[in-house]
Symmetry: C2
C-alpha cells in the first residue's frame, strides 16, 4: 500500500471535501448576491492566457511566480511555454474589456470570484491556488464609482458577518502632496513611500533610519514626516500640511468626498482617513483603501482607483477603480462558526431484503421528487444494526424501513434517528409525510 503522501494534492493546493466546499460556496453566494444588488455583472475568463498577455504586467518578482504551460506536440521538446495560468483577475478583465468593449455596458461593472495561481512558496495561509474575489468599474471617472466600490465591499463583509471591520482611506494624491509638503526631492518619492508603508510593522525610529540610510532623505525631513504620521493628532497635522501642496489639496478633496458620499449609507466610524496608508502596488492613481478587522493581522480587503492600468495592459484608455476581498483570509474565520459536519441526506432508505429492492428504489424516487434528499443503502449487509450505522453516518434525520411485514401491511416504517421513535405510515403517503417532517420550519 502506497504512503498517503503520494495521494496528497500538489504542494500549495487543497482538496475541498463536502463540508468545507459548502462553507466556501455559501460565502461566495453571499458575496455574489451583494455584488449583483449593486448592478455588477459576472465575467468568467479561462484559467490560462497566452503567455504574452501576462508577462511584464506584474513586475520582475511577479513574473517569476507565473505558472507557465509547456508547448505541446512536436514543440514540447523545445521546453518553451506559450500559455500561462492566470495570476490575477485584473489582467484578464483588461483583456476582456478590450475585446468586448462595444458589447459591454458603459461603465462596465463586473465582478469575478475565481481561482488564480501563483508559484509562491507555500506556507500557512499562503497557497498556490487560491480564490480572488474582485469587483471593478471600468469607464467611469466619477467619485461615485469609488464610493460604490467601498459600499459594495462593506455590504459584502457585513453580509458575511465579519465583525468590526474598518476602511482605512487615503489618496495617492495626498501621499504625493505630503512628499511635496515636506520638500522630499521628486526622485526619492517612490522609495520613501515604500518605506513609509512599513509604519504598521516597524518602529518609528526604524522607519526614520531606513528613510535616511536607504532612501536618501535628509534626517530632519524623515523625522518630521514620521513624527507627523505617528502622532496622536496625525490626521489634523497632515490635513494642515497638505494645504501647502496643490496635489495634496486634490488628495484631501478626494478623501473628503468619499467620506461624504459613504456617510449615511454606512456607519460613519467604518471609514477612517489614514494618511499613512500607502498600498504597495504602484498602479493606483487616486483613492486607495484597505480594510482591517480586529484579530486579523494585515488587511482583509483593499482596492483603489487605477486610471492608467487598463491602457498599460493593452486596452483602450479607460478610468477604472476596483477592490478585492481577501477571501482566503476571511473564510477561515467564518468557518469557525459553521459546523464541520456534512449531512449527506435527510432520509436514509434501508434495503432489508434485496427482493424488495425495486419497490424500495421506486419509493426513494418518490421521496426525492417531494424535494427531500434521500439515500438508498448500497452496501451488501442485510443486518439492521449495520444499516442504522450507515444512516447515522449519512446524517439522516429519518430512516425508512420496508421489509416483509411492511409489505404485507402496505406500509413503511419511519424511524426518527434522533429519538429512535418508529411509526407506520401507508406506503403511498410516505413521501408526503417525510417532506412534511423534513420541511425547514419543522
Amino acid at each position: 500500500m502506497a504512503s498517503l503522501k503520494q495521494f496528497e494534492p500538489a504542494s500549495g493546493t487543497r482538496d475541498f471535501l463536502a463540508a468545507e466546499y459548502e462553507t466556501r460556496e455559501r460565502a461566495f453566494a453571499t458575496i455574489r448576491s451583494v455584488f449583483a444588488r449593486y448592478g455588477f455583472q459576472p465575467l468568467q475568463t479561462p484559467a490560462f492566457e497566452r503567455l504574452d498577455v501576462l508577462t511584464g504586467k506584474y513586475g520582475d518578482e511577479g513574473d517569476k511566480l507565473i505558472f507557465k504551460i509547456l508547448r505541446r506536440g512536436e514543440h514540447e521538446a523545445t521546453g518553451e511555454a506559450d500559455l500561462a495560468l492566470r495570476y490575477d483577475l485584473t489582467v484578464p478583465l483588461a483583456r476582456a474589456a478590450a475585446a468586448y468593449g462595444s458589447q459591454l455596458p458603459s461603465p462596465y461593472k463586473r465582478y469575478a470570484i475565481a481561482p488564480v495561481w501563483r508559484a509562491d512558496r507555500p506556507g500557512k495561509g499562503r497557497f498556490r491556488e487560491f480564490v480572488q474575489c474582485d469587483l471593478d468599474i471600468v469607464g467611469s471617472s466619477s467619485p461615485l464609482s469609488d464610493a460604490e466600490i467601498v459600499l459594495a465591499l462593506h455590504d459584502a463583509l457585513d453580509a458575511l458577518r465579519v465583525p468590526e471591520f474598518r476602511f482605512l482611506i487615503n489618496s495617492r494624491h495626498a501621499l504625493f502632496g505630503l512628499l511635496e509638503a515636506y520638500e522630499v526631492p521628486e526622485d526619492l518619492g517612490a522609495g520613501a513611500l515604500i518605506t513609509l508603508d512599513k509604519l504598521d510593522k516597524l518602529t518609528p525610529d526604524a522607519v526614520v533610519s531606513e528613510l535616511v540610510a536607504s532612501r536618501g532623505l535628509a534626517s530632519g525631513m524623515a523625522e518630521g514626516l514620521v513624527e507627523d504620521l505617528t502622532s496622536q493628532d496625525c490626521v489634523e497635522r497632515i490635513r494642515a500640511r497638505l494645504k501647502s501642496s496643490e496635489t495634496g489639496q486634490v488628495g484631501l478633496a478626494e478623501v473628503d468626498q468619499l467620506l461624504a458620499l459613504t456617510k449615511g449609507a454606512i456607519p460613519a466610524d467604518r471609514t477612517v482617513f489614514t494618511p499613512s496608508l500607502v498600498r504597495g502596488l504602484d498602479y493606483y492613481t487616486g483613492i486607495i483603501f484597505e480594510v482591517t478587522a480586529p484579530g486579523m493581522p494585515g488587511s482583509i480587503a483593499s482596492g483603489g482607483r487605477y486610471d492608467t492600468l487598463i491602457s498599460r495592459l493593452g486596452g483602450k484608455d479607460a478610468s477604472a477603480c476596483g477592490g478585492s476581498l481577501g477571501i482566503e483570509r476571511i473564510l477561515p474565520l467564518l468557518q469557525q462558526a459553521e459546523s464541520d459536519s456534512y449531512a449527506q441526506v435527510d432520509v436514509a432508505v434501508t434495503v432489508m431484503d434485496q427482493d424488495f429492492s425495486s419497490e424500495t428504489f421506486r419509493l426513494a424516487a418518490e421521496i426525492r421528487r417531494s424535494g427531500v434528499r434521500t439515500g438508498v443503502y448500497l452496501g451488501t449487509s442485510g443486518k439492521f444494526a449495520k444499516q442504522m450505522k450507515w444512516a447515522n453516518e449519512q446524517g439522516a434525520r429519518f430512516c425508512v424501513i420496508y421489509g416483509a411485514a411492511e409489505r404485507d401491511a402496505g406500509t413503511v416504517t419511519l424511524r426518527d434517528m434522533a429519538t429512535g421513535d418508529q411509526d407506520q405510515v401507508p406506503f403511498d403517503q410516505a413521501p408526503e409525510e417525510l417532506a412534511r417532517r423534513c420541511a425547514p420550519s419543522s
Copy 2:
C-alpha cells in the same frame, strides 16, 4: 489601436459574459440540486496535479493532450514539467479517495462540476477548457448503485428539460459473451469491439470489411455478428445467442436487473437494451450506458461500472460506477430557450445634480437593502436623455429621479421604463415602494 485578435482568449478557450455565464450557472445549479437530492456530495480538487499522477492513465493519445506546467525558478531553464492541468475528474477522484478514504462515507457518493483541460485541436463544439459534470459511487458493488447513477442522470436531464432522451444500456459481460457465442478468438476480441463500436457511423458492410481486413475475423463470423446486431429483431436474436455463453448470461442478468430497478422510478421507454453499444473506454467492467436525444448527434451522457480503475489509478481496490453529463453539448441547446439579454439592475438611480449625489447614494443604499438590484448613474452627463438611455441599457424596470423639485417636496419621482409613466412618492417610502413594484409576483 491594436487588433481585436490580440484580445481574444487563448485558442480553444472562451470568455463568458454575464448572460451566458448566468445561463450556464443556472444549469449547473439545477444539476447540483438533483445530485444532492440523491445524497451525492461535492468534491473539489485543484486545477493541477503532480505530473506523475496524470501520466500513463489516459493511453498514449490521451497523454499527448495533457497540458504540462513548466518547473519554476532555477529549474525553468531545464524545460521540464512537474505539474499538469487535470485532464478529467476521475483520476483526481481516485487520488482523493485514496488520500481521505477513512474520512469519507462508505460508499463514497461524490459529484463534481468543474473545468478540465485538453490540448485537443479546437473546433466547433470542441474546446481546450470545458466543464465536466461527473457523479460516481466508490465502494459499492451493488446493482442498486448502477441504477442510482442512471436515475440521478435521468432526473438531471429531466430537470434541464432535455426532450425525449433515452438511455442505451448494455454490459461489458454481454459484449464478451457475444464474442464467445460467435467463437471470436480471445485475442481478437478487443479489436473487434473497437470496430463494432462504429456501427452507428459506418454501413454494416463497411464494419464487416473492417472486422475481416483489420481485425482478422473470419468473414462468416463477421457477417453473422453484424447481421444480428443490425437486424430488426436484434434484441431477441442477441438474447438467444447470449444464452450459450456463461459470461453472456451474466451480462444479460446485469442489464435485466438494471431495467427492473429503474422501472417504475422512470418511464420504461427511457431505458433500452442496446446490444451494439460498446463505449470506447476499456476500463468498464460491467454495465455501460449512453444517453441519446433526437437532434443531437452522438451521446449527451454516458457512464458505467469500472471496478478495477480506482486500484489501477493507485487507490485501494474498490468497486465503482459512475456517469457524466456531456454538459457542453447539452448547454447550447438549453440556451436557445433562454434570453440572451442580461438585466443588470431592476432600478436605475439617476444623478441629475451632483450636489445631491450624497443623498442619491444613500437612497440607492436603502433601495438595495430592501433586496432590489440597484445601479447609480456613474457617468458625467447631467442630461436626462443620456441617463434614460443608460437606464434602458441596464435593463432597469424603474428609474429614480431626484432633482431640486423633488428635494423641495421631500419626494422622488419613479418612472416606469416600459410605459414612461411617472409618479411621485415620499423620499422615505421609495425603497419599500420599489421593493413592492419589483417583487417577482407583481
